[in-house]
Amino acid sequence: MALDRKTVAHIARLARIKVRDEELDALAGELSGILAWVEQLQKVDVAGVEPMTGTVAMDLKMREDAVTDGGIRDKVLANAPSTQGGFFAVPKVIE
């Protein structure tokens, strides 16, 4: 399936990656090429086959509902590009 410029711009928006207008055609070509190649899966008969989400059949373990970590604010913030008063700082969200 070939993607057009508009679809590529939409995907970029969903993926939160800024793509310049002049890049759209080349990207549409690359992504369409990959999608055309994976198209061969459409021919496979998968009727009655359950989707495989993991390789090891096991139940998730239960644990006690208790606090196991925390109280490490400075460690959590240590790599932040910008902090303010013990919080991550980002551009204003609400005017």
Partner: protein
């Protein structure tokens, strides 16, 4: 003596330290010198020589007290995908600029617990997406091997290419890698070393930068099968912090060695004779069958009929999981931030500047196949095909104990040779990716040289959680192949 110290295997280092033939500090210094001398390979993103010396000093104290641990004094290189506390961890990406994890990955914590010495963090394809270590923000790594009569720089495979180059060039006795579609085994094949991907769930993924969570698995890269068995034992084990790690005892893999392969049934999948595969690789494969037969194993032709669907299924599933995992790189909490007029603008600008082309391509493919209206047609269908691929293996393992295949369809290629066609690059993983989809263990063993003098590997695939049989068969191939060639670029 110091020249020889970098040639020692993990097992030899362990024995020499125990016998007092040399100290851990001498071993560490020899490897640090090798690392400095081989900087032209660009195998490391971060070198940690001071850390290596202090680790080694502690090892010497332990040895003196008679309290040596399983990997005491063994110098290791760590793929830069493992979070190491206080040490820059980049995943080969610009977007993790300056990131010093406040925690240690479970796998590396276990290696340090067992006395290993840390040399540094190795280069890799960005976020482990690639088969050549050319997509790294930190420039490509060179393969220490070159073609006979041709000094062009070759790739060390990928994504664990810094690790494979470091082990092949005798900079590190062993290294960690991770393997999502072949990223341990293919670089091992390209550099003439052993690379082992354990069963999914064998090693904890906690603290390893995530690429495709249902496929990612850590494993050892070494120069011998025995060393892979030794290092895996320290890496493996249940971890409550990774709900997909399996709560099962870790065997002493070394004890599986030396038992031979008499009576072992070895599957030879006819679908792995792919179009365009080099004739010398087909011949090496036949040679491998003959070696195992001579050692007493029984070759059995098997069918894995859905093999050709594995790569297309992988290139839906892996990007889908990656697009979700990589959503966390938003410029807000760690790594690179490119300022923006609004929060969304900051996200979009940061991710545009921080991700390289291959990562952007995969995140966008993943976003698309998960988006409304396409989820069933792409993602769900790929997961159903994945089930068929896994079923092929289950049926094959009713008849055989282990499967033998080539590791990769070619020897190492030159930088840039496959760069303009993403799908040509993806085909590197044609023999390895099925193993990740089925969650099985696989190992690449150096088995011979190509006509122009480059290493070629054979792959063995085992039953889930039967790494022991896999090591036994790998040892038989190793013994028969007698691979002693070493790269010109070795220290």
């Amino acid at each position: 003596m110091t020249g020889a110290l970098t040639d020692l295997t993990v097992a030899e280092t362990r024995a020499g330290l125990k016998a007092g033939k040399f100290s851990a500090l001498e071993v560490a210094r020899a490897h640090i010198r090798a690392m400095e001398k081989a900087r032209g390979l660009n195998a490391f993103i971060t070198e940690t020589p001071e850390r290596a010396l202090s680790d080694a000093a502690e090892s010497d104290r332990r040895i003196a007290r008679g309290e040596a641990r399983p990997l005491e004094g063994v110098p290791l290189a760590i793929k830069d995908l493992f979070c190491t506390e206080g040490v820059l961890t980049t995943a080969g990406s610009h977007i993790l600029d300056g990131f010093k994890p406040p925690y240690e990955s479970t796998v590396t914590a276990q290696l340090w617990r067992d006395g290993a010495v840390m040399l540094g963090k190795t280069n890799m394809d960005e976020f482990a997406m690639g088969s050549s270590t050319t997509t790294s923000y930190y420039k490509p790594t060179a393969n220490p091997w070159t073609r006979r009569g041709d000094n062009r720089m070759l790739v060390p495979g990928g994504s664990s290419g810094g690790s494979s180059a470091a082990v092949a060039a005798r900079i590190a006795a062993a290294a960690t890698g991770t393997d999502t579609g072949g990223s341990i085994r293919q670089p091992a094949s390209f550099t003439g070393i052993v690379g082992m991907k354990p069963t999914y769930g064998r090693c904890s993924r906690w603290g390893i930068v995530a690429f495709a969570s249902s496929l990612d698995q850590a494993g050892p890269m070494t120069r011998t099968v025995r060393d892979a068995a030794i290092v895996l034992r320290s890496m493996a084990g249940h971890d409550p912090k990774d709900s997909t790690s399996v709560d099962a005892p870790v065997p002493d893999y070394e004890r599986a060695l030396g038992k031979g392969v008499k009576g072992l049934r070895v599957g030879i999948p006819r679908e792995y004779r792919v179009d365009g595969m080099a004739r010398e690789i087909d011949l090496l494969w036949q040679q491998g069958v003959a070696w195992l037969k001579d050692a007493g194993a029984e070759p059995v032709e098997i069918g894995l009929p859905h093999t050709k669907l594995a790569l297309p299924a992988y290139y839906i599933i892996a990007p889908a999981e990656a697009s979700s995992n990589l959503a966390r790189y938003d410029g807000a909490r760690f790594g690179l931030r490119v300022p923006g007029k609004s929060l969304t603008d900051m996200y979009e600008s940061t991710r545009a500047a921080g991700f390289g082309k291959e990562v952007r391509r995969r995140v966008m493919i993943g976003t698309y196949v998960l988006s409304a209206g396409y989820y069933d047609a792409y993602y769900l269908r790929a997961q159903r095909v994945r089930a068929l691929i896994a079923r092929d293996f289950t049926q094959a393992f009713d008849r055989v104990d282990v499967i033998l295949t080539p590791t990769a369809p070619s020897a190492a290629f030159a930088v840039g040779e496959k760069a303009d066609d993403p799908i040509a690059m993806y085909l590197n993983d044609v023999f390895t990716v099925t193993v990740n989809l089925a969650g099985l263990p696989g190992i690449s063993v150096p088995a011979g040289l190509s006509a122009d003098g480059l290493p070629l590997g054979l792959q063995l695939i085992g039953r889930a959680f039967d790494e022991e049989t896999l090591f036994r068969a790998a040892e038989a191939v190793e013994k028969a192949a007698k691979f002693t060639a070493r790269p010109a670029g070795a220290a």
